[in-house]
């Protein structure tokens, strides 16, 4: 009672001064689409939160310096060894700091999850055409965040100054060095001298814990701000048009859903961190320029670059009499092309269209609607899969009992053949699906595929209206149910007007309330055009089913909390068991 009164007063006094209530009300009524693929970005967001939380913990104990120190602590094989302060403090984090290893491992696992979620999110955006006007800015921001995430992952991986990451750092150094004209200057600027330098670890540290995370946080804010302003795009479906968003409201149902996801990300990251070993630097040993380690791979999100370096034939050439070393093409040019392609894609695709597509799109393409886009995307994915495999060429060679050179030759052939064939297959499947309408891959018949391969007759190109660039073409339900579509308006006990869309299939309640009936009608007309509107009696409770939603949301939260608690108990018991004195 008292808390309620207090919070009410607090809210009112805040509102008197800041006038936040209207803003807040609008924000809380924001509608988010329900489709599950819209939540990949949130996985990335929450992984970032886990990274910051665990990263702050690590920063308390990590010493970003290559100064000579003597490790003394619980890890016997290193006890008394001289190593760099960075390496010694990482081993100390792993063996001597309470919960240090859990935090280190969780930090690293969530880095892998973070970039993975970004990639999934990017694929969803790509294959549904969500980057089209007006959302190109957010696409650009997203690609920038991906690049920063890769970079930050690399610097984080390198600062412990262990032998494995040092090997990778040396490779990046020589790749940068290979850039004609500016390469030498760039590495000198970054490292302050010939590799390895004492400046490298402290500089990477500042970039890793401060600069890049700060830029990332700002970009995340901009990304979400633009999202709120532009509203979500959505898949076409009954009742969904270019002018509305169909889904759950921010409060309460969406809030609880997203908090449940946060709990899950925390649970998965900490479960991995507690149960699966990652980057055991104490086994790898400190970096020593005279030593090598094998097999050596970087983390998966940069491994494609490493794979390209291994796969590409060693080609050196001269430009204006200067020798350009072999890492230049696979390292700098390929990486540059990858990101240039990502940045430019929305604009390239727009130009490619016969009818230049300047229209704004709020409805997504079902992936099959653009066979060429699918074919291209799948082909590129296949190429990157081969590159990832190439980064593990030594491990593959060992498993297959083949010489590494044979494995590389096989992978070279695959790198050329697989993207093309996978792309063509994806293209044909998409065409067949598009021609056949709403069925899944499993239901395609041979005749569907055959007709998809007949190009002259445009058999595969029959438009079903899906993904047509015109703003009015939405996938309307079949004609019969279309007749039933209407707008219903009613007045709630609180005196506000609300409306909903109803057809034979769905009922979609608008999330906002209006002071008068004309206002509500106008809003409905903006969303659905000239559908017949009629007034109905208020249905039971208020508008949607907030009570039911709240109940359901509560159940979800409860269950997620339960799993989290379970994981916590398991972790805690594991730790305790490990600390038990030896019998």
């Amino acid at each position: 009672m008292i808390t309620r009164w207090l919070s009410g007063r607090l809210a009112r006094s805040l509102d008197d001064r800041l006038r936040v209530a209207p803003v807040l009300r609008r924000a809380l009524a924001k509608v988010f689409p329900d489709h599950w693929s819209f939540m990949f970005g949130e996985i990335a967001l929450y992984s970032f939160v886990v990274l910051v939380l665990t990263g702050v913990f690590l920063t308390l104990f990590f010493e970003p310096s290559t100064a000579d120190t003597v490790y003394s602590g619980a890890y016997a094989p290193l006890d008394g060894s001289r190593t760099s302060a960075a390496y010694a403090s990482t081993v100390r984090l792993s063996f001597d700091v309470r919960a240090g290893l859990l935090m280190r491992q969780t930090h690293h696992w969530s880095a892998l999850l973070f970039v993975g979620a970004i990639v999934l999110h990017l694929l969803r955006v790509f294959f549904t055409g969500a980057y089209r006007r007006p959302r190109e800015i957010n696409w650009l921001i997203g690609v920038t965040m991906l690049a920063l995430a890769l970079f930050n992952g690399f610097t984080g991986y390198s600062i412990p100054d262990d032998l494995l990451s040092g090997t990778g750092l040396r490779i990046l150094y020589s790749v940068t060095q290979s850039i004609p004209l500016v390469g030498e200057w760039l590495v000198f600027l970054a490292a302050g001298g010939e590799f390895p330098t004492a400046e490298l670890v402290p500089r990477m540290f500042v970039s890793h814990v401060l600069l890049v995370p700060a830029v990332l946080a700002a970009l995340i804010a901009a990304h979400l701000g633009i999202l709120l302003r532009q509203k979500h795009s959505q898949f076409p479906g009954p009742g969904r048009t270019e002018n509305n968003v169909v889904g759950s409201r921010f409060w309460p149902s969406y809030t609880v859903r997203t908090l449940a996801l946060f709990a899950w990300v925390l649970a998965v990251a900490f479960a991995l961190g507690g149960l699966a070993q990652i980057n055991p630097v104490w086994i790898y040993g400190p970096f020593d320029p005279a030593q090598a380690i094998s097999p050596a791979q970087p983390d998966w999100y940069v491994a494609w670059g490493d794979g390209a370096l291994r796969l590409f034939p060693a080609v050196e050439f001269r430009v204006f009499g200067r020798l350009v070393p072999s890492p230049f093409l696979p390292g700098v040019v390929f990486g540059g092309l990858t990101f240039a392609g990502l940045y430019l894609w929305p604009f390239l695709e727009r130009r490619r269209r016969r009818r230049r597509d300047r229209l704004a799109h709020q409805l997504l393409d079902p992936p099959r609607a653009h066979p060429a886009r699918i074919g291209f995307g799948v082909g590129v994915l296949a190429l990157f899969a081969v590159l990832l495999a190439a980064a593990a060429d030594d491990i593959l060679a060992r498993i297959l009992r083949l010489p590494v050179l044979h494995v590389l030759s096989i992978l070279r052939v695959l790198a050329l053949a697989l993207p093309v064939s996978a792309g063509v297959v994806a293209y044909l499947v998409a065409r067949a699906l598009r021609a056949g309408g709403g069925r899944g891959i499993g239901e395609l018949t041979r005749s569907d595929v055959r007709s998809a391969m007949r190009f002259g007759s445009r058999a595969g190109g029959v438009s079903t209206g899906v993904g047509d660039p015109s703003p009015v073409a939405t996938a309307e339900p079949a004609a019969g149910s279309h007749d039933a579509a209407r707008i219903e308006l009613w007045r709630d006990p609180d005196g506000l007007w609300r409306w909903r869309y109803r057809d034979a299939v769905v009922v979609l309640a608008a999330s906002q309330a209006y002071r008068s009936r004309p206002e509500a009608e106008r809003a409905a007309a903006t969303a659905y055009g000239d559908l017949p509107a009629r007034e109905v009696a208020p249905s039971g409770g208020r508008t949607g089913e907030p009570a039911a939603m709240r109940e359901r949301a509560g159940r979800i939260a409860g269950r997620a909390g339960g799993y989290l608690a379970l994981a916590a108990v398991a972790l805690w018991r594991g730790r305790r068991a490990r600390r038990r004195p030896p019998p």
């Binding site: 996801l261 070993q277 594991g574």
Partner: protein
């Protein structure tokens, strides 16, 4: 201490698999989870039964009990046992007098360490010609191995003796291992591929004596490290550290994922972590649609 940690890590592994499912499991290293008790370190192996022993009249069961070196006078049962085994199982490839043949190199002067290494790691006798005989269960009992070692030594002396391994300094062992061995055998001791399809094998089953023998002998593609490169205490240290690497003792962070590094870690991140989270969002999204 040792057993506690190992049991602990086994339990953690079990929990890990139970909780997260077993998608994208690590590449199993042979015998990784449960190191096979290796008869190499003096425990007489039961596997000698597999050897067809009754072939000659000389008293078959008189193993040279005790550690005394079998200095070979003529009627010594150990020596005749060694000769007998050699002629039956080795001579076809290495020649009746160890002079070598088309199918195998000369054994004259290779030294007891080499013979003991080849036999106790089960590399010899090879059944069919492979490029690189793998580490297997030894074909002979410890006593028979001693007899064979003595017999091959009698074909022509010289070569490194079987080293005796004492306790070594762990820290020095780690440093020496990383400096001399990790480039081929990987810092984790998990092994790695070399050129032309040959591998430096995992050291997960190597006993201290075998490690010391390998250092002195340099089997196959591995270089030999003579006394002036690695002294006896240094060999002890390396052998001790290799024992420390074996099993799950150093996998303090949980399931080792084969200690294969970022590749398996990436597979687990995608196959378990992200797969789980995608399942979660599908579930959350599916509920919201209703």
């Amino acid at each position: 201490m040792v057993t506690a940690t190992r049991a602990d890590s086994a339990r953690r592994l079990a929990v890990f698999l139970a909780v997260l499912g077993l998608a994208a499991g690590p590449v199993p290293r042979p015998g990784y989870a449960a190191p096979v008790p290796d008869p190499g370190d003096a425990a007489p192996a039961p596997s000698s039964a597999s050897q067809p022993s009754p072939a000659g009249p000389p008293s078959p069961t008189a193993p040279g009990d005790g550690p005394g070196p079998p200095a070979a006078p003529a009627p010594d049962p150990v020596a005749s046992r060694g000769a007998d085994l050699y002629l039956r199982t080795c001579a076809s490839c290495h020649g009746p007098a160890g002079e070598g043949s088309q199918r195998g190199p000369s054994l004259v002067g290779v030294g007891p360490a080499s013979v003991d290494f080849q036999l106790s790691t089960g590399r010899m006798p090879v059944d069919q010609e492979t490029r690189q005989p793998p580490h297997r269960r030894p074909a002979f009992s410890a006593a028979d191995i001693r007899a064979l070692v003595a017999y091959v030594d009698s074909l022509g002396g010289g070569g490194p003796q079987i080293p005796t391994v004492g306790p070594g300094d762990l820290r020095e062992g780690r440093e020496l291992f990383l400096a001399n061995c990790a480039a081929c055998h990987s810092a984790t001791g998990g092994g790695a591929t070399l050129t032309n399809g040959l591998v430096a094998p995992s050291l997960d089953r190597s006993t201290p004596v075998q490690v010391a023998e390998a250092i002195r002998v340099g089997p196959g593609l591995m270089p030999a490290f003579p006394e002036n490169v690695l002294g006896p205490e240094q060999v002890d240290a390396v052998a001790g550290y290799v024992q420390h690497l074996r099993g799950g003792r150093l996998d303090r962070g949980g399931a080792s994922l084969g200690r294969l590094g970022p590749i398996t870690e990436g597979l687990v991140a995608w196959g378990i972590g992200l797969a789980l989270l995608v399942g979660v969002v599908r579930w959350l999204g599916g509920r919201a649609g209703r």
